[in-house]
Amino acid sequence: MSAQAFGARGTGSFPRGIHPAQAKHHSAAAALEVLPPPARVEIPLLQHLGAPATAAVKPRDPVAWGTVLGVASGFVSASVHSPLGGKVVRLGVTTLPNGRHVPTVAVAAEGEQVAGQALWEALYGGPWPTAGLDELTPEAIGAVVREAGLVGQGGAAFPTHVKLTPNPAKPVDTVLVNGCECEPFLTADDRLMREAPAPIVAGALLAARAAGARQVVIGVEDNKPEAVAALRAAAEGTGVVVQSVRTKYPQGGERQLVLSVVGRIVPTGGLPLDVGVVVVNVGTAAAIAAAVLRGRPLTHRVVAVTGPGVVRPANLLVPIGVSYREVLDFCGGLRPEAVRVLSGGPMMGLAVGDLATPVTKGTSGITVLTAREVRKAAETACVRCGRCGEACPLGLVPTRLALASRHRDWALARRYHIQACIECGCCAYVCPAAIPLTQLIRMGKAMLPKE
């Protein structure tokens, strides 16, 4: 694994983008804690991009930690597992922050649970081998990753085994582990990199083995020097390169990170795979290691609970399926001035209307904002200043796209490449006229007639 042999290197940055206040101070210093096991969890069968899992249990079935609750129903799908030992209560339906109604399996805890330090040790603690991983075949790694229900933990929740399955038409030479966490406020990846660098490195090596990549790079924004140092120490002698990249939003977008680190441009409408790169989040990398080396399916994840609207911001290891309410309760609840609860960060996160919503595999954080931070300026006329275009990491002209969306002028929308928009939010953030550019473009993309 000779990582240094590769010449193709990015500059550590990408064109345009924005510099919002990072606001990491709320929770960056809070060491990871393990949430006490809740009495009950409700696990959505669709937490990922693709087809929902099929329920594999009935009410009153006994389950243990790791029991399969739902089985992947196709190639682009992911199984779900119980984070608790206990009993299936019922099969229900919930609404996720993205507005989708999804079937769920509710599990009530019964008896002794693996909790606290023991849970941490099982998932992240102890030694993690970085040598001898070549004895595992790529197919075996892919199969375990698939069975463990792994999906991307950065937010988009794309099934991981799909990325890792080698495609002869598109050979992969690089696994890029995304430790940017460029969203303001969020600190979950930061804490995980600082406190559990070893499983991240091991998981990255396993991903490279599965995908057939020769180079492994972990990209971390340069506002997280402790994470870089911890990862470098853990990666010593493994060939894994830890590269510090410029702190700029949206550095953690995979198109931007591939350009920053590897210096390749992902084609519009394509995937990093098209330029020989597989991108996985640091949380996903650690989950790959836990699945392959310890047989642990994805049942828990690290969530940042942060923002000025939370009494005690924290970084927590929580079971998937626990409600936002219970997580917030553990952090002292909401402050009186809290006005918005977000799944994720403030740029791409989704507002949550019901705190009974369960945490899913893609929940990177719970950010609670007060009236001070949320968008509130009244919209005024566009003065065509072009700031949106100077912020757009894709080099689009957002004001035109928003205009086209507002007037449903699909020819104009296509002429200005509306489908290339990644909805990162930079344009709406900078607009001096407070036009909800991203929101309009998102609507336009959804309404755009198929060709």
Binding site: P20, A169, P184, R255, I265, P267, T268, G269, G270, G309, R325, L328, G333, L334, R335, P336, E337, A338, V339, R340, V341, P346, M347, M348, A351, V352, G353, L355, L369, E373, V374, R375, K376, A377, T380, C382, V383, R384, C385, G386, R387, G389, E390, L394, G395, L396, V397, H417, A420, G425, A428, Y429, V430, P432, A433, P436, T438, Q439, R442, E451
Partner: protein
């Protein structure tokens, strides 16, 4: 935007959780109003130079135009179109200041008033108000009065025969074009020459323009393209012997080139959306300025050059649609082809 009343149970006293589409943050420091305020700050050195050269005439002209533009905005926009008052966005003040600074010191008071009403009325409100106008409002107003009061704004209007100061001299570009006399460059740089109020001092324009660019109230693309184009074309004209008394320095420092490049061509509303578009826009302005200066009856052409280039902005925008970072969106044909 919905607000979901939510039973909070044990979570905090807040009973209402707002739901709205992201992004949930906004750069509150940068607003349209701040952009306009920055343009006004950028105009301050120009105003100071105008007062130094022309005294109370400068204060009077700019004051008249500023107040008249505010009155016109209120009348046309708020009274007649029944739209909410927009005086607070400062755009009318900016138009008034630029219009006032582009007039000769000698223009009678009603020229400024009529120019202001034409600027706001024909230049802005008929198009739908701020952000909708095709032409720079101040230049529309100036063109209107220039054609309506050709004597009061012609080259002769600048000259007061028995005044002891620079006011007794013809403007440098007129001198160069008509008599072949060479004006020294230093007065052009500091501003101790005759001309429209805001145009005489190159250093004041550069200082104010720098402020606008640093504060990002305007972009540098168009000014750079204008200055570059004029420099190249005037060097060519000098080599070709057209009006040999006007050197590259005269073309760059004289007339309202820097004022126009830094304060008028940087108007975001009437310039193209993209960087390459603004470069094309600037090159066109530079080209039109030189054509008018060298081959027309007018000694100066920045106003008409800007208006002509404004008319081409929609076309320029069509020509300069940027390609996304990863290339154009693949069509349905390419998708099936596996290229």
């Amino acid at each position: 935007m919905t607000m979901v009343a939510h039973p909070p149970d044990r979570v905090g006293p807040s009973a209402i959780v707002h739901v709205a589409p992201g992004p949930h943050l906004q750069d509150a420091a940068f607003t349209t109003r701040r952009m306009m305020a920055d343009v006004l700050v950028g105009l301050a050195p120009v105003m100071a130079a105008a007062v130094a050269v022309f005294g109370w005439f400068a204060v009077m002209q700019v004051g008249i135009c500023g107040l008249a533009c505010l009155a016109a905005e209120y009348l046309f926009h708020t009274v007649m179109r029944r739209k909410p008052a927009t005086l607070g966005d400062l755009s009318a003040v900016v138009t008034g200041a630029i219009l006032g600074l582009s007039l000769p010191w000698s223009a009678p008071w009603y020229v400024g008033v009529i120019g202001s009403f034409a600027a706001i009325g024909f230049g802005k409100v008929v198009f739908g108000g701020l952000g909708m106008n095709l032409f720079n409002p101040a230049m529309v107003g100036r063109a209107f009065v220039m054609i309506s009061f050709s004597v009061a704004l012609g080259a002769g209007a600048f000259v007061l025969p028995d005044a002891p100061s620079v006011l007794s001299q013809a403007t440098p570009l007129t001198v160069g074009k008509m008599t072949g006399e060479v004006t020294p460059l230093w007065p052009l740089f500091v501003g101790n020459v005759n001309g429209s109020l805001g145009e005489t001092s190159a250093i004041a324009c550069l200082l104010g323009g720098l402020w606008i660019l640093v504060r990002r109230a305007g972009t540098w693309d168009a000014p750079l393209a204008i200055v570059g184009t004029v420099a190249v074309l005037s060097a060519g004209a000098q080599l070709a012997g057209i009006h040999p008394s006007l050197t590259v320095g005269h073309h760059l420092l004289g007339g309202s080139l820097l004022f126009g490049a830094l304060f008028i061509a940087t108007d975001p509303v009437t310039s193209p959306l993209t960087r390459s578009g603004r470069a094309v826009f600037g090159i066109l302005i530079g080209l039109f300025v030189m054509v008018i200066r060298l081959f027309s009856g007018y000694p100066e052409g920045v106003m008409f050059a800007v208006l002509l280039a404004n008319a081409m902005v929609p076309l320029i925008n069509r020509w300069t649609v940027p390609t996304p970072l990863g290339g154009p969106v693949p069509g349905p044909v390419q998708k099936g082809g596996g290229a």
